[in-house]
């Protein structure tokens, strides 16, 4: 009771009785990784555990020889007296919540998660616990996601409208997870190959190897340099916006797929022609539902924007506090 089961240190979230860290940001011996995004999976750890479907992604990020061990969803693993198991988080391929049980007490770390349907990964599973450490990326009630299949339809319609005008449709999206989710959704609409930025090729191949069905893709690097991509849908990470790479697509319309596109000010300020509200994180109803489903008596929120969520939970008589972590600094 006096020492919490998980505690925040300058290296990351630490479990003293089990002597392991969850998504540490500085060198540690034993690291349990929720998923393969750069702000959660960092290199240099002694040993890694992650959900089995996420192993290839983690290896790609860390290098082929990294000591990564896969755990099947739900498979218990003992860390000394502590039992750890991983459960689907629905965020990206291989993403997991971490369940930590010790001395009759259960803590769950959600990592990044969402409740919406996503054909590229196992759906979120609710795990009862005493203490829930939840992400809070979009923890304001203005974030209520539209039906993702509707958003995919909007993306397809936009692509077709650009094509009708003889333009390229250049869609910026996070390279791991969001891109593949869009490619999988578009498989229902078209078999015309989508052009991929180099940063997305290897990651997309890993999804194909995992059996995720997606629209055909072809690398931008395989196209003639003079081809400005008229009529094509081109996917690229946001970091490519405004770069020399993007300049070749003359007359392209630009789009951005992100939960942040929900807000007009952000949408207009980012300077893209269109915004699509598509997120791999939980929206406000998703966060509240997850907290309620867990039955947790105490909730700790990570990822910065926690003021509204904490006020809401306190109003509901749930003990809640913020945890300062550096997560969410990479993802748009």
């Amino acid at each position: 009771m006096e020492t919490p089961l998980l505690t925040l240190t300058d290296r990351g979230l630490y479990c003293p009785p089990g002597d392991f860290y969850i998504d540490p940001w500085r060198r540690v011996e034993r690291a349990v990784i929720t998923h393969g995004h750069g702000d959660h999976a960092r290199s240099g750890m002694g040993h890694y555990w992650t959900a089995t479907p996420g192993v290839p992604l983690l290896r790609k990020r860390l290098g082929g020889y990294s000591p990564v061990e896969g755990l099947a969803y739900g498979e218990p693993r003992a860390f000394g007296p502590v039992t750890v198991s991983l459960h689907p988080a629905g965020h990206i391929l291989g993403s997991a919540q971490v369940r930590v049980a010790y001395g009759g007490e259960v803590w769950v770390v959600t990592g990044d998660f969402k409740r919406e349907a996503d054909p590229t990964c196992a759906p979120f599973e609710s795990v009862p616990c005493d203490v829930l450490i939840t992400e809070a990326t979009f923890a304001y009630p203005v974030y209520q996601w539209p039906d993702p299949s509707q958003v995919i339809r909007e993306i397809y319609d936009w692509w077709q409208a650009c094509a009708a005008e003889g333009r390229a449709a250049l869609l910026y999206t996070y390279a791991l997870g969001k891109a593949q989710r869009i490619l999988a959704g578009l498989a229902d609409y078209s078999t015309t190959p989508v052009w991929l930025h180099g940063a997305m090729e290897g990651l997309t191949q890993i999804y194909r190897d995992a059996g995720v069905c997606m629209i055909p893709t072809t690398p931008v690097s395989a196209q003639a340099r003079s081809d400005a991509g008229a009529g094509r849908l081109i996917l690229a990470p946001p970091s490519a916006a405004g770069s020399k790479w993007a300049k070749r697509f003359r007359g392209a319309e630009t789009g951005f797929a992100s939960g942040w596109m929900q807000i007009r000010g952000t949408r207009r300020r980012k300077g893209y022609d269109v915004g699509f509200v598509l997120s791999d994180h939980a929206d406000w109803p998703g966060l509240i539902r997850t907290i309620e489903d867990s039955g947790a008596r105490r909730v700790l929120a990570t990822h910065g924007y926690t003021d509204a969520l904490l006020a809401y939970l306190k109003d509901r008589g749930i003990d809640a506090a913020a945890l300062a972590t550096p997560y969410g600094e990479e993802e748009a």
Binding site: P146, R264, R268, Y312
Partner: protein, 531 residues
Amino acid sequence: MNAFAALLSKLEQVRSTRRKLALLRAYFTAAPSGDAAWALHLLTGRRPRRVVSGPELRRWLGEATGLPAEVIEATYAHVGDLAETVALVLGSEKTAHAPAQEGLQSLLEDLIEPLRGAPAPVRQATISALWARYPRQTRLWLNKLLTGGLRVGVGEGLTLRALGEAFGLDPDVLQHRWMTPSPPSAAAFRALVDPQGATLSWAAPYPFCLAQGLKSEALPEDPEALLAEWKWDGVRCQLVRREGQTALWSRGRERLEDRFPELLESAQALDDGTVLDGELLVWEGDHPGSFADLARRLQRKRATPALLRSLPCRFLAYDLLELDGIDLRARPLSTRRARLEALLANAVGTLHLSPALHATSWPALRTLRQGARAQGAEGLMLKRRSAPYAQGRKSDCWWKWKLDPETVDAILLYAQPGHGRRANLYTDFTFAVWDGANLVPLAKAYSGLDEPTLERLDRWIRKNTTERFGPVRAVTPTLVFELAFDSAHAAPRRKAGLALRFPRIHRWREDLAAEDADQLALVKARVLPHG
């Protein structure tokens, strides 16, 4: 309402003029005349006064959703736009709503207008029902209408251009008809766009000729071909005398004659069929008064005798658009000016001639311009003598050549989020200068910084907030900015004792520390007019 809301959302998303025009054309062509009339009214910047306050909206949102006030406040602070916060928090279209049938006109006239002055429970019931009936996109613009906060990023010019294109009208003809406003109605809209032509009222003014800014490095032509005048800091007006009546129009299509009985009286001496273009100014002895004084006259719908005595006004005419009922706009300025000078060789009561200035070279013009402040003017106007009276700003007929602005180094004190594109970004700032060891607020400014700088400043503000008052944040007073402004005048009711005209941010002085900012006493000595 859904169609109008869709138009506003799309207008916000497209950037090219061509696409904006296409969207506006499509709307005007498809909309029923009554809806189009209101849309035109709103798109050209006229806003109905609010029927609901911000705090009411937040409270009703809390009651509609069961969310605690603290959650709503935090969310509003995150979004920076209350209408949008309410529209989004109420939930997505997943919660089914009944089909919404109201057109824009019916919504505004039948549902919203009766709410004016209605008790809170009545307004809450109607507004909550509207919220439930409309999807999120429509709710956003509906809330903007309710709070009086609707701003659309298309100007009057673009809207009228689209309207002209949609109905195949000559833009000059449409502009001329447009100058006489009428309350939005289906009949008025049909008259405005009637291809057969409409009868204009006796009071109808002409579209104003507007000046372009003169870049001193790109001087237009031989100074001998130009007429120079003082650029007055008053209100641009047209004085129309027809059928024994007088109308005084501002550029914003407002009738002002009732506020200026001294002009009405003088105008009786003019013949029917006379239209003057000129500047309305407060006049003290041989000098124009400040714009602030003129604003005091403008605020009063009917001037009191005391106000008429203390702030007498004058109309300085610089163009003649109609004489003996004949439209002179196609004649060259030299001809119009000669007739104007003949008409007003001797002042007619409060109607005076704005003097023509004599300079035969650019150096001489520059010298003249330097003397503008001593004349109570903002700079020079240069007008091509051979030019007709053109419509709008498109022509190269008139140029304004303002004095270089004054500047002051001031400290950032408060920040407030912007609107529209800049909602949830801190863009509206209050700046202070030193009064001894204390800081006194001097001016508000919200333009002049580029987007990356604004974003950087936004992050700094969030990290250096000392106090919050609603959407306003007080920050640690350490950042210094150079503010530019056109002029200053004494303002006894302000803490600083002076007010700046058109303050804007020139640059972020990252090289200066707070103690390097200006002292109030020195600012006053430098910028306040003497005597």
